[in-house]
Symmetry: C3
Subunit: 370 residues, 3 copies
């Protein structure tokens, strides 16, 4: 069987995504969800890919103008639109980060229903910390209470992983050592006494150490993100000392990575616990560049270390577009190698299935859950 | 119309270039202008591209040997050589950085005449500062006098932008905040009391803050340059905090960017005021790699954010080579997407025109000037 | 002659490699040598390339399963296997780093004999320092004794270069200045009084300054390596200030470089003494990506500045695989340019020979040695 067919048949495991809005969207609302920053959103690679590949899912011709696209989208209504794109993605399993909801989004259960699939939950650790702060806690109790809250959170049904957005808050150029109790108390006293998100370096370090001891895989946002990111501090290679220092062997999954996919690949090649995806990037760079980005990521990454994620957020188009870019990009990359005699056809199909589903099933122990 | 034809017909706007020498050049002089550093200059990608693409403009066969090339160049004389390459570039509009003239170069007016086009001026802010120092100023008056000098400079006829070479002087890992008046005075006292170019971090910060308040677009050299650059400090993502801090909305244009074209692209995708080009790179990497570099730059850059520049300096070959690499590279990239059904032909032509001319016309308000 | 033929005929100069084990290897031992880190080693790009390209050298079909490969390898025995792969590499000259032998490896003479070629020695400076420490030296004598030891080492017959692994020990974000004598004594006192490898920043700086005054080329590991590297500190552009500061003109050779091949290329383009290779990377990324990595490295690198190395270590497969990836990658890159009319056929053949052998012969003065 050829690689593209194998990938077309394969029901993907999307190991990192978010919910989708249940509401109809006007043009400004749709455009603000279409790009990370919000400038001329339809004349970006994403916008062009939406018009090319998503328009036909809504019964429009490829390259339909933005106005027609939005009109047809409104006509069908959010529920039908979401259903169509989720169906088009041929994704069966979703690991949903539920911790970032400036707008109301579907729950994992709602997402699963719309997709006729299965959804698991990924607990965002910064949200756990911020909830604990809102609930009230003494600085001297922070270390223990936060640890307890994380352990409780990961024991909830359906939770398969934790995630940190430390990349956004402090970046990765952190002291790699575990902070001492008195440091944590001092930092907690300062942070609990002021407004604002978790951005204290000591508490973020404590969060990361707590994370790898919680017993479930840890997802880390790395590289590209919205305007809040400082790209040079989100280079995953800055985590090397920390990766050497941490105990145990729970998987650490580097999300997105672009433009540091080669740095991330290095980490997957030398740390048995480290994995990567190039999600988010996929629907931003679109099918036209997915193979190129994957090719860089895969220059040295062991094939057991690559996962698929859409990082879809807000609009259902991204489930379809991420899946398309992944299938097309990985399919082209592997089939070209088969055609050049560099890879055997059965190996190519096996590696495609690993990346699209099997690696995630193994890492998150999804089989044990059925 | 196919993309290559549209780009061939389009008269480019070169939003960042320098003048060209009026004098005939012997081999060492020509070679020293051919590369940033000056080692085996004809056996570089640039040198190979000059022999391939510039030789025919001088009536020689492609791949003519260096000796023949230089002999023919001398025979025709600088004026005719300059005229031919400027004509071959099919560039109509030039924004000329007039602040770097270790050798005498054409003025914008002379360049415009040779090209039968129009030339505007870009004021280099470090040159304004260094002239002010040479003219004599009290440390306590520095902040005010420099600001006044910049405001005067941008009001001169034909000036469309300011430019900073902070990348060369301090790099971008600067405190992003506006320096306090007493800091500026102290720094001015130190710098005015010694020899040397503007390389004081406080005064460079003041220069950058002054720049975005001068009311015209700000061009910033980023990435690759001559031997004076420290590449790791010229990564434009180091500017993120500063871009969040500055007021107003005058455009900030990231010049050249290589090898940080993806980092620059990130900034264009999240800051509505940020734009980029991959000039300079184009004639260094040559037509054979222009599409690859552009493809990386365009992975996430909105198409309204890409500009063309040659960054030509000293020898007129670079106007022709930059334009050729841009037209070929962007043309291949867009036409390939059209051929793959990923982009509609009218969109492709529209985006090509934006990048080659329209974006620059809009950003620098060039139409208002006719 | 076409480029691939010229490269096939050319006997390569491998300017940086290590010895190979003389012993038969069981599966864990083979796998641990196959990758830098040791995870699922046969399902990496290297492992796939070994099965594809090395299996036929052992009379197996391409893509032979790992078990068959290892069985056949054991059947033939280490000596025959080494002989076959060295012969398949068509490498005549080897510059062998003899300073890293956690397992016993062939000497340069043994390697030369197995390859029916010539081997020279590269002295690893950290090993010289660590031997001096083991032999016993007073802190106050360190500077002088280490300098003497290096000068003695480079005068030994067959020594053509020195090498530093400063990238592993401290990284390149070092004070670029030469350390003062009292600093060196103080640092030596501290380091000589404790266990451990040479990782003191002052002594590493002294080592680098001593190196460029020893009168032979200096090889520097940069970029990708095993789990000990901190990739973000192994970016060669961090060396820029040091390259400006050092005296003399002995060549400085940047080894490997990935993923910083563009940063390394910048340095080769502005410093006449700086050269690069993309060895190590070649057998890790395999023939399928060698052209892509070389294309990035060669965007601005003068063709007189590119060298070939295998960085083979431990298993002889890497001599064959590195040579194959280099010949295929550089051949494809140059032939594509010839086919596109961008490069003349004689120039392409000349540049291929430079990179595969001539540049190294010139830089290491190998001709003077016969």
């Amino acid at each position: 069987m050829r690689v593209h067919e194998a990938l077309a048949e394969l029901e993907l495991v999307d190991h990192h995504c978010h919910g989708v809005t249940r509401h109809d969207l006007d043009r400004p609302a749709f455009e603000s969800l279409l790009t990370e920053g919000g400038v001329t959103p339809f004349d970006t690679p994403t916008g062009i890919a939406v018009r090319r590949h998503c328009a036909p899912v809504l019964d429009l011709p490829p390259h339909a103008p933005p106005e027609e696209y939005l009109e047809r989208r409104a006509e069908l209504g959010a529920e039908e639109v979401n259903r169509r794109f989720l169906h088009a993605s041929r994704t069966h399993t979703f690991c949903v980060d539920t911790g970032h909801t400036p707008i109301p989004l579907t729950t994992p259960a709602e997402l699963a229903e719309a997709a006729r699939g299965t959804a698991y939950e990924v607990v965002r650790l910064e949200s756990v910390a911020e909830k604990l702060k809102a609930d009230g806690v003494e600085p001297g109790d922070w270390a223990e209470e936060f640890t307890r809250a994380v352990h409780d959170a990961v024991r909830a049904p359906g939770v398969v992983a934790v995630k940190s957005v430390a990349a956004y808050r402090t970046g990765f150029a952190l002291d790699p050592t575990r902070p001492a109790p008195q440091e944590i108390t001092r930092a907690a006293r300062s942070w609990l006494g002021r407004e604002g998100r978790l951005d204290d370096a000591v508490l973020v370090r404590h969060l990361l150490w707590t994370a790898v001891e919680a017993g479930v895989p840890l997802q880390l946002h790395t590289g590209f993100g919205d305007g809040d990111i400082r790209l040079h501090r989100a280079d995953p290679s800055l985590l090397t000392d920390w990766l050497h220092a941490i105990p145990g062997d729970v998987p650490v999954l580097l999300l997105h990575c672009w433009p540091f996919q080669r740095q991330a690949a290095y980490l997957t090649s030398v740390f048995s616990r480290v994995y990567l995806d190039v999600g988010l990037t996929l629907h931003h760079v679109g099918p036209v560049r997915a193979a190129a980005v994957l090719a860089e990521a895969l220059e040295i990454t062991p094939f057991g270390k690559l996962l698929y994620s859409s990082d879809a957020y807000g609009v259902a188009e991204f489930y379809a577009l991420g899946a398309l870019a992944f299938r097309r990009g990985l399919g082209d990359l592997l089939q070209d190698r088969v055609d050049a005699g560099e890879l055997s056809p059965p190996d190519a199909v096996r590696l495609a299935r690993w990346a699209g589903a099997e690696n995630a099933r193994r890492i998150y122990r999804l089989r044990d859950r059925f």
